[in-house]
């Protein structure tokens, strides 16, 4: 399992109800079901991935994250997870509010755009960065937002959403292995992972 998913899994309390948005073939949900006895649900747009996930015995809805999350009653889940998809969603603020409506807490992970290698590419090569974490060219990228860890923190403040936990990680050539970055995370981390709590009253 991907290192960022291992970190996320370590945050989930045993026996929780978990919604995984963009669950792909369900490796995180399978892991959480087997290791922590959670009751999981996934939403996934790709038919092949959905087919594989349901075949594993997972509960998965084939559809668009935005449309599908709407139907769930308030507070149905303990955790709602959005891993490595934030940079692709049209309206992150709306989605995070929805995630915190249907879930008590939410987990968001994303590739850190301001990792030093990206910065070097822009500065020295003068071109849009292409990396393992962001492997696309400007014209074929599904990523419509660039999200530095620093900006995400500010974004949460603006939404009045408390950051309960935060970890920056760096994954190496094997994405199943990595390490926690505590020194200059906005510069040195490849991914940011955040645990968010219920919005505070203004």
């Amino acid at each position: 399992m991907r290192f960022d998913l291992q970190v996320i899994a370590s945050w989930i309390e045993p026996g929780s109800k978990v919604l995984d948005l963009g669950c792909r073939t369900g490796s995180l949900l399978t892991h959480l079901t087997e290791q922590k006895g959670i009751k999981g649900t996934g939403i996934e747009i790709d038919e092949d991935a959905v087919g594989e996930a349901i075949a594993k015995g997972l509960t998965v809805i084939h559809g668009d994250v935005y449309e599908e999350i709407e139907d769930y009653p308030d507070g149905l889940f303990d955790y709602v997870i959005l891993s490595q998809t934030l940079q692709q969603v049209a309206d992150p603020a709306m989605l995070i509010r929805e995630m915190l409506r249907v879930g008590r807490r939410c987990v968001v992970s994303f590739p850190n755009f301001t990792h030093y290698k990206n910065r070097l590419q822009v500065f020295f090569l003068g071109q849009a960065p292409v990396s393992r974490e962001l492997p696309y060219q400007w014209h074929n990228s599904p990523n419509i937002h660039v999200v530095p860890i620093k900006d995400f923190r500010r974004f949460c403040r603006e939404l009045n959403v408390p950051i309960v936990r935060e970890v920056a990680i760096s994954t190496d050539h094997l994405d199943t292995k990595g390490r926690i970055i505590t020194f200059l995370p906005n510069l040195l981390a490849t991914f940011g992972i955040f645990l968010l709590g219920q919005p505070e009253e203004e």
């Binding site: 038919e47 594989e52 998965v60 809805i61 084939h62 599908e68 139907d71 769930y72």
Partner: protein, 392 residues
């Protein structure tokens, strides 16, 4: 045990059985208000019921199907049951693990009581004196059969199309008796378009002079009307793409147009063939009753006072809902509507829209995706039962 080739493994020989009820004051009260007795259901089973009777799966057949879901009637039977591809040893609905039950619906003509059965009052076929039956009536009969077999809770109810309507009705009518429900290529209510095609089919039968108000069992059957009805139905089971692929404008047994009203095109010839073949096995009155039952089906009105969310608030089972991209008879939006209502109730539902060009028929055709979905879903349901976890 040797490894089996899933495509050829079969449950082997099966036997059609009868179950009759209603003779001892336990007659069936129908939605239309009338009572019916006696009622006979033709049914078949395959696999073995386990000691705690927890591995039974009810398969509900579609509009013109029958109880012959899998296997062969005799060693020289050329054709297996209608879902032999899916039901059998090592197959997605695995008869090595599950006990499969399939019964012919009430109103049908494949061994269960229907309009061609004898009315005990007149000792002649009911014809149109047979009461109009509903999907709910079919389900009530199936419940009597399940009671008779000594099964308290079904592991799953599975069915496509009109069979899927029965699955949905089961899940909200008898929520304590169903652990899982798999409605395939179906709807909670017919669209105006679906009713319209059924009405054209019924009119074709009733316009045949041999129909004779439904009283034709001695005078000769309305074969032409029934064949046309089947042709209409067949069009709704295909798709523009599948017809283009299968027939396009190719001519049948000729190089040039005939300039008469023979079947010039392959598609005409195909429909005529399907119509004529159908007449040999099906009763025209049954076709009228069964299409009417499908048109009347309305889950939200029946169980939710007009609200689909309220209807599913009665349910407690786990669902697997499947639709097919090219199915325009019961399009995906209708499956999504039921999934939405299930989710609003916090029910455990999985949904997959399978890419398939073959139209509504897709649920009966070989489909690797459907097979893996069924297998994986049923595995988990039975694991949970074995592990003692409640479906909720």
């Amino acid at each position: 045990m040797t490894a089996r080739d899933d495509s050829t493994a079969s449950v082997g020989q099966v036997r059609k059985q009868d179950f009759t009820f209603g003779e001892d004051g336990d007659e069936l009260t129908l939605d239309c208000g009338r009572t019916l007795a006696p009622v006979t259901l033709a049914f078949e089973t395959c696999g073995t019921l386990n000691a705690d009777r927890s591995n039974a799966i009810l398969v509900c057949h579609a509009l013109t199907g029958d109880s012959h879901v899998a296997g062969y009637y005799s060693p020289d039977d050329p054709k297996p049951g209608w879902w032999d591809r899916v039901v059998g040893p090592g197959k997605p609905i695995d008869t090595d693990k599950y006990f499969i039950i399939c019964s012919n619906v009430i109103g049908g003509c494949m061994g269960s009581t229907g309009p061609q059965s004898n009315d005990p009052l007149t000792a002649k076929p009911y014809g149109t004196a047979f009461p109009v039956v509903t999907i709910a009536d079919m389900v009530r009969c199936q419940r009597r059969l399940i009671d008779h077999l000594g099964i308290d809770t079904l592991l799953a109810v599975v069915g496509g199309s009109v069979g899927g309507m029965q699955v949905l009705d089961w899940s909200v009518r008898y929520p304590n008796r169903v652990r899982a429900a798999i409605p395939l290529a179906t709807t909670t209510k017919h669209s105006a378009q679906a009713i319209a095609f059924n009405e054209v089919a019924r009119q074709a039968i009733m316009a045949d002079p041999k129909w004779n108000g439904g009283d034709y069992y001695e005078s000769g059957r309305p074969e032409h009307g029934l064949a046309v009805a089947r042709m209409v139905g067949h069009i709704t089971y295909l798709s523009d793409e599948s017809m283009r692929h299968k027939f396009d404008r190719r001519l049948q047994d000729r190089c040039e147009l005939s300039f008469d009203f023979e079947a010039d095109f392959q598609v005409e010839s195909y429909l005529r063939y399907q119509g004529n073949k159908f007449v040999e096995r099906f009763d025209a009155n049954s076709f009228l009753y069964l299409t009417k039952a499908a048109d009347y089906f309305n889950l939200e009105n029946r169980h939710g006072n007009g609200s689909l969310v309220a209807a599913f608030s009665r349910a407690s089972c786990r669902y697997l809902v499947v639709s097919f991209t090219s199915d325009w008879l019961y399009p995906t939006y209708q499956s999504r509507a039921m999934v939405k209502a299930m989710k609003k109730n916090g029910l455990d539902v999985s949904f997959c829209e399978i890419e398939a060009p073959w139209g509504h028929d897709a649920f009966l055709l070989p489909n690797e995706r459907l097979s893996t979905l069924l297998r994986g879903f049923l595995d988990r349901v039975s694991d949970d039962v074995a592990g003692g976890a409640h479906a909720l």
